[in-house]
C-alpha cells in the first residue's frame, strides 16, 4: 500500500521491450539493480513497469541488447502535475490553501475544559472571555500561567488548574475541591460565620423553632440549655457573653464573643398540601403553524408564518447555534418556531391519581428536607379526600439544627464595686 503510494509520488512508466532477446535485456536490468514490476509477456516482447529514474538509465542497456524500448503509459504524480501545468488557478488554490492553513494555525479556535463538575464549561468560558481569553485570539497572546493564576484567584474551590495550548486548542484541566461539593450546607455556615466575623460583633445562638434539644456541642460561648430541655422559638441557646467574676463570685465584667455550637433538637412541622379534584387539561387540536428561520447576527431569513387567531396557543422555539469545536460559537443559528392551538377541558382526578400526586409531592418534600440535613423521625401525614378537593396533612417529627445567630445584648456593670470597699472599710 505505502509502497505503491511512494511509487505514485515518484512517478513511473509502462514500457514495452521488443527485439532479438528481450530476456537478456531483463537480466541486464536486474544486474544493474533496476527494479521491474508487473512483467507480462506480450507477443514477442514484454511489458513492464519501471520508475522514472530507472527509465533514464535504460538507453545504454537497450543499445547493448539491440532491443527497442517503447513507452506505453505514464503514471504518477509528476506526470499529473505536468499535465495540469497550464491550470494556473489550480496552483493558485494550492498556494492559498497552504497559506490559509498556516494563518489559521496562528489562532486559538477552541477552548476545552477537563475535570470540571461543579462549574460548567459555559461559566468558565464566560469568565475567560471577560479576561480576554476567547476563541479566535492569537496563539502567541495566550498567557497560560496568567490564565492559571486568574482562575485560581477567581474560583476558591478549584484547587488545581493547568492550561496548555494543544495545536490550535487551548486545553484547561481543572481539579475541583470535592469536599465543598459534598457539604454545601456546611460551606454556607462557614461563609455566614466569616461574614459575622467581618462584623466582629458578639453573637448569641437562639432557637429558630420550638423543640426538645437532643444534643449540644458548644465550641464557644456559654451554653444555656441541656440535652432534653424544651425550648421555644427565640430562646437563647448559647450566650455570647461570658461573665467575669471575682473571688467572691461577683460579676465584675463581661467578655463578649461569637457563639458557635452544634445544637440539634426534635422539632415538629405541620405539613399541608391540598389540590382540587378538578383540573384544566390542555387538549391540542390539530391547528399548528411553523416558521423556520436562519439567523446570522441580527439578520434573519424565515419561511412560513406563526401569526394566528387561536384562542389559546402555545409557542415553542427550538434554536441551534452553529459552533466550531466545543466552545467557539459562531454567530449563525437556525431554528423552528411552532404554534399549537389548544383548548381547556375540565377533568377530575380519580382517587388513585389524586393519592399518587399527593404522595409524590410529599416524598419530594421529604427529600428536600433530607438534602438540607434534616432528619425525619416520624410522620403522621394522612391523605384526606373531600368532595371537591383532596389534601395531605399532618405533623412531621424532625431532628434538625435549630441555631440562629443574634446579636448579644451588651450589658454595662453598675459601678457598685467602688462603693462597697469603702463601706467595708468603714
Amino acid at each position: 500500500m505505502i509502497r505503491s503510494f511512494i511509487r505514485y509520488l515518484k512517478g513511473y512508466v509502462k514500457i514495452r521491450i521488443q527485439g532479438f532477446s528481450p530476456e537478456r535485456f531483463l537480466n541486464m536490468c536486474s544486474y544493474h539493480d533496476i527494479y521491474i514490476w508487473g512483467l507480462v509477456p506480450v507477443g514477442n516482447g514484454y511489458e513492464m513497469y519501471i520508475s522514472i529514474t530507472d527509465f533514464r538509465r535504460l538507453k545504454p542497456l537497450a543499445r547493448k541488447t539491440h532491443s527497442k524500448v517503447t513507452l506505453i503509459k505514464r503514471c504518477g504524480f509528476p506526470f499529473f502535475l505536468f499535465h495540469y501545468r497550464k491550470r494556473k488557478l489550480f496552483f493558485f488554490g494550492l498556494l492559498i490553501c497552504i497559506i490559509l492553513l498556516k494563518v489559521y494555525s496562528l489562532f486559538i479556535w477552541d477552548i476545552h475544559f477537563e475535570g470540571n463538575e461543579k462549574w460548567p464549561d459555559e461559566t468558565l468560558a464566560e469568565y475567560l472571555k471577560s479576561q480576554g481569553v476567547a476563541p479566535l485570539m492569537l496563539k502567541s497572546e495566550v498567557d497560560c500561567p496568567g490564565i492559571v493564576k486568574n482562575i485560581r484567584k477567581e474560583y476558591n474551590d478549584i484547587v488545581w488548574v493547568s492550561a496548555s495550548v494543544d495545536g490550535s486548542r487551548l486545553k484547561i484541566q481543572i481539579k475541583e475541591n470535592d469536599d465543598t461539593l459534598l457539604n454545601e450546607s456546611g460551606d454556607e455556615n462557614t461563609e455566614k460565620k466569616t461574614s459575622a466575623a467581618g462584623k466582629e460583633g458578639p453573637t448569641d445562638l437562639i432557637a429558630k423553632a420550638d423543640g426538645v434539644i437532643t444534643s449540644i456541642v458548644t465550641r464557644s460561648g456559654v451554653p444555656q440549655v441541656h440535652a432534653g430541655d424544651e425550648v421555644t422559638k427565640g430562646d437563647i441557646l448559647v450566650l455570647g457573653r461570658v461573665d467575669v467574676v471575682n473571688d467572691s463570685g461577683e460579676v465584675t465584667g463581661y467578655q463578649y464573643q461569637q457563639s458557635d455550637a452544634d445544637i440539634f433538637a426534635d422539632t415538629e412541622l405541620e405539613y399541608t398540601d391540598s389540590i382540587p379534584r378538578t383540573y384544566q387539561e390542555k387538549v391540542y387540536d390539530d391547528k399548528k403553524r411553523y416558521q423556520a428561520y436562519i439567523r446570522a447576527g441580527d439578520f434573519r431569513i424565515s419561511v412560513g408564518t406563526i401569526s394566528n387567531q387561536y384562542e389559546n396557543s402555545e409557542l415553542t422555539v427550538t434554536e441551534h447555534q452553529l459552533k466550531a469545536g466545543e466552545n467557539f460559537y459562531l454567530p449563525f443559528s437556525w431554528g423552528i418556531k411552532k404554534v399549537r392551538s389548544y383548548t381547556f377541558h375540565e377533568k377530575t382526578y380519580t382517587e388513585e391519581e389524586i393519592r399518587e400526586i399527593l404522595s409524590g409531592n410529599f416524598q419530594r418534600f421529604c427529600k428536600d428536607l433530607e438534602e438540607k440535613g434534616i432528619q425525619i423521625r416520624e410522620n403522621s401525614v394522612k391523605i384526606h379526600l373531600y368532595a371537591d378537593s383532596a389534601s395531605a396533612s399532618g405533623p412531621l417529627y424532625l431532628n434538625e439544627r435549630i441555631t440562629e445567630e443574634a446579636d448579644t445584648e451588651i450589658l454595662t456593670i453598675e459601678r457598685k464595686e467602688t462603693d462597697e470597699p469603702v463601706g467595708t472599710d468603714d
Binding site: 530476456e23 544486474y31 512483467l39 509477456p41
Partner: protein, 95 residues
C-alpha cells in the same frame, strides 16, 4: 571429487547455509499461486505458461497458466499465476 561436492562438504561441515556457500537457488512456494525465487542468474524464457530461470546449478522450469512476474530484481523475483509444475533441469544446454 568435484568442486561442487567439496563445497557441499565444506558447507555441511561448517554448518553454514548452503544457499550462501553454494549459491543454491532458494524457492519459496506459497500454495500453487505464488513462487519466490532467490539466488538466480537470469530469466531465459518467459511466456504465460512457461518460465525458465537460470541458476548456478541448472535451470528451473515453472509451468502453469497466466504466469506473471510480479517483480524482478537482482536477487529476488516473484512469479504468480496458477502453477502446475516446478522442474529442475541440469546444465545450460539441456532442454
Amino acid at each position: 571429487m568435484g568442486k561442487e561436492q567439496l563445497g557441499e562438504r565444506l558447507a555441511s561441515a561448517a554448518s553454514m547455509p548452503k544457499d550462501v556457500v553454494m549459491k543454491a537457488a532458494v524457492l519459496t512456494a506459497l500454495g500453487n499461486f505464488e513462487v519466490c525465487i532467490e539466488n538466480y542468474r537470469g530469466i531465459i524464457e518467459y511466456t504465460e505458461c512457461l518460465v525458465r530461470v537460470q541458476t548456478k546449478g541448472g535451470q528451473i522450469r515453472l509451468t502453469g497458466k497466466r504466469l506473471q512476474v510480479e517483480y524482478y530484481t537482482n536477487d529476488e523475483m516473484k512469479i504468480t499465476g496458477k502453477i502446475e509444475s516446478i522442474g529442475f533441469a541440469d546444465g545450460r544446454n539441456k532442454e
